[in-house]
């Protein structure tokens, strides 16, 4: 497969949610050459959920009127870059019992370089955010590193980020000098 790129720009409005998810899936199917088959059903279903969560985040949290998605296809993976205006990614760490914390960090993340924050915590997994620069960070889904809480009272938050980091990898956010935000991730092809 030859490397190629496809862009899609649309208003950041909930009423375009279905259009975006359906169009995004068609783009992935077509440019990655994925046929509709029983083996690929789960993969495409995961892709659709991933697209849905990305768009939902753009609509609910970006404050931007428009959002642009760039799909890039390579040999064995594809990547999605979401470009939007607005205040950028706010780090909202959860507490040890998985409940929402009170601390929030908006970009620029001055003095936070190298710091790690847990944004989602369940019985087995956690989403960890590492600040890699004043205007950038990475997000990873990994096995929980702290002792398990009693399940009944460990009720996770931020499922959207959990889904995005579980279904995609190399999740990265950066903000440029003009105040444009770039949220990107990769996904291996089936």
């Amino acid at each position: 497969m030859d490397p190629c790129k496809v862009s899609l720009k649309l208003p950041a409005s909930a009423r375009h949610q279905v259009f975006f998810s359906e169009t995004g899936i068609r783009i992935i199917e077509s440019f990655a050459g994925i046929e509709k088959s029983a083996e690929n059903t789960k993969y495409l279903s995961d892709c659709k959920l991933l697209l849905h969560e990305l768009f939902t985040n753009a609509v609910n949290h970006s404050g931007s009127s428009e959002v642009e998605f760039q799909f890039s296809f390579e040999e064995d993976l594809f990547s999605i870059e979401m470009v939007f205006e607005g205040a950028g990614f706010t780090i909202k760490p959860v507490k040890e019992d998985s409940t929402p914390g009170t601390v929030k960090h908006k970009p620029p993340y001055k003095g936070l370089e190298g710091e790690k924050f847990i944004l989602h915590l369940d019985a087995d997994f956690e989403v960890v955010c590492e600040v890699t620069g004043e205007h950038e960070l990475t997000l990873k889904n990994r096995e929980r590193t702290s002792p398990k809480a009693e399940d009944r009272f460990s009720i996770p938050e931020h499922f959207g980020l959990f889904i995005i980091t579980m279904l995609g990898h190399d999740v990265h956010y950066k903000r440029d000098k003009e105040g444009k935000n770039f949220f990107s991730l990769k996904k291996s092809l089936p």
């Binding site: 909930a14 949610q17 279905v18 789960k42 279903s45 995961d46 959920l49 849905h52 969560e53 939902t56 609509v59 609910n60 369940d122 019985a123 087995d124 997994f125 399940d151 009944r152 009720i155 996770p156 938050e157 499922f159 959207g160 959990f162 889904i163 579980m166």
Partner: protein, 113 residues
């Protein structure tokens, strides 16, 4: 109508009629579920997902909010009728740690006999 509530074999059944359980209907679901929970302490509420073929993180968040409220009011929430795609999202997000999930209402009812 996105939801309705009926009594089936003595169990309160919360039916979701919209096939897309997403952010569009999540706030309404959350409000209705919490209202039912607070009005009926000690009750068993069965949530019918048989018409739902898609669920997103916002709706999951509403379910979790209902679960939190249910702990305060000693209400038991059970889920049934999940289709393959919904079940897969439930598994990924570990919702089965919070809710008992049944294939259908008959199976759910048997556990209460």
């Amino acid at each position: 109508m996105n939801f309705d509530i009926m009594i089936h074999s003595g169990i309160k059944v919360f039916r979701i009629h919209n096939p897309r359980a997403t952010s569009t209907i999540a706030p309404e679901f959350r409000n209705l579920l919490i209202e039912e929970i607070t009005m009926h302490p000690g009750a068993i509420i069965a949530i019918d997902f048989s018409k739902v073929d898609y669920i997103d993180s916002s709706f999951i968040g509403s379910l979790v909010a209902g679960y939190k409220e249910s702990l305060k009011h000693n209400v038991t929430i059970k889920v049934f009728g999940t289709q393959e795609r919904v079940e897969s999202t439930f598994e990924s997000t570990k919702l089965y740690n919070l809710f008992e999930i049944f294939k259908n209402f008959t199976q759910l009812k048997k556990t209460l006999e």
